[in-house]
Amino acid sequence: MAKQPASVEFRNVTKRYGGVVAVDDVSFTIAPATLVTLLGPSGCGKTTSLRMIAGLETASDGRIIIGDKDVTNLSAADRDVSMVFQSYALFPHMSVLDNAAYGPSVQGATKARAREMAMDKLTMLGLAGMEHRFPSELSGGQQQRVALARALVLEPQVLLFDEPLSNLDAKLRRRVREEIRDLQLRLNLTVAYVTHDQEEALAVSDKVIVMSNARIAQVGAPHELYEEPASLFVADFIGDSNLIEAEVVSVTTGFAKVRVGEAMLDLPSSNGRTGKATLVVRPTAARIYCKKPAEPHVRGKVAKVAYLGKHMEYTVETDVGEVFLVEDVRPDPWRKNEDVYVAFNPLKVKILQE
């Protein structure tokens, strides 16, 4: 690639539509040549943020910097940013080749040169031989590759994806997201990627920005978000988790003694304080026993059993509420209505205190 990938920086960016605040005082940095996901439920401001990077929305307040250039007041056409749209937004009246050649041709390249650049990227994405077809004659996956080729032709400093997998069927999704990640690594691109699917975000990202109600809830690498959620929202939104009411009884250096029902847990904690707390228990952070185990535990009754092939899912009704658990498949699985004990793995349980 001739051009260097650029960083993207939001400095206290706010976007208001009339009285509605869509993005509220958001700051973050996307390092060059990384893939960063904007993740959140619908209406959290992630798409608006992406559109502000593209220049399709203007920030009401704050600065947006791409590379070392302040682009806050630049129009979309003047920014060196390309976008792959959720609907692909291919021009239906142009052939695949003309779609891909659109960028260079409107920016003044000769027709021959534009087509050559387009053909280069189409070939790279495995679309050689389809350049004379029209978008309506392609499958969804192919259309998306055309959209990607069109965005890549100009070798932009930053590439944006708006929910790129939402129009694909489930099997194709995994493959396309792996391809996007491969391409990003291979071409050394800076990518901002919007999705509402937390699994997708964890799978492809160097860094995830979780948004909620127009603000950033947490920023971190995928494993940090999963293992160290900063809030109940993130704990609940990223992966499956059981949120269990508990009480911190005492705090010593590095540890907190926590009461959950009749169990007392010694949990690693750097900044715990006594009082009410919520425990984040991932489905693999607890185990089911038929006999009273040595570890701290609560009593329960198996309420739901589901066989998923690669693992089993159980829901156990306990003194402290329903607990959802994932275990390996065994020849003799727990049965519904069986009386059991649920023991927590103290190393995997997180304490959250508001």
Partner: protein, 275 residues
Amino acid sequence: MAIPWGLFTVAVYALILVAGFVKTVGRDYTPTLQHYITAFKIEQGQFGLVFSGSAWNSLFATMKIAAIAAPFTAAIGLLTAYLLTRQRFAGQRAFEFGTLLSFAIPGTVVGVSYILAFNVPPIEITGTAMILVICFIFRNMPVGVRAGVAAMSQIDKSLDEASLTLGAGSLTTVRRVMLPLLRPAILVSLVYAFVRAMTAVSAVIFLVSAEYNMATIYIVGRVDAGEHGLAIAYSSALIVIMGIVITLIGLAVGERKLGRRGTGGGPATMPIPAG
């Protein structure tokens, strides 16, 4: 059901055409070309062809005015549609209502208002071709607006945005993305504006002058004078002319390419080839 209805339609047109070729419809069915000769006589004069038929004057005026008015009507209609679908501004609903209002007002009211408004300085255009053209543009604009709004709301806004992010300015976007996709709307607006200008009666009946008489008004005049055969012959000619013009506009705007629109952007059902 379709066949009797079709026969009925054909019969209505046939009746008009036949009536032009008989002496007096309803009374004397002797075949004659007299009406056509009176209306559309062309003589070989001293300085070339002379259009001496009584209808030529109004026909040429009508064609000219309709041909001038049609592209303006379509252009203003589509521009209005663009403002209504792609822009957000205060008073948009009122603006939209305003563009449709000229449809709701009776034509004679429009005609009289135009005379009153433009009979005095600063804009004194009563009796000119200009007043007819302007009247047609504003009277027929709602159709261009409706066709444009329908077409533009079908064009996903992300197409504009994709064009912008690829470095195209607004003008380039309109020229290379919007206009090609708006061909059907342009066609409908052009045809409709032309046809309506050719056939309008109520709005223009007060606006015509000796120099710029309109075909329809001339026909009404013939009927008033009891010359039904002539009126019918002229009407038949208008039907044929409009058929030809609609076909020509269709060819010029490029109807053949319309088939390319449609099924883009659907969900994926086919696997992609390994690449």
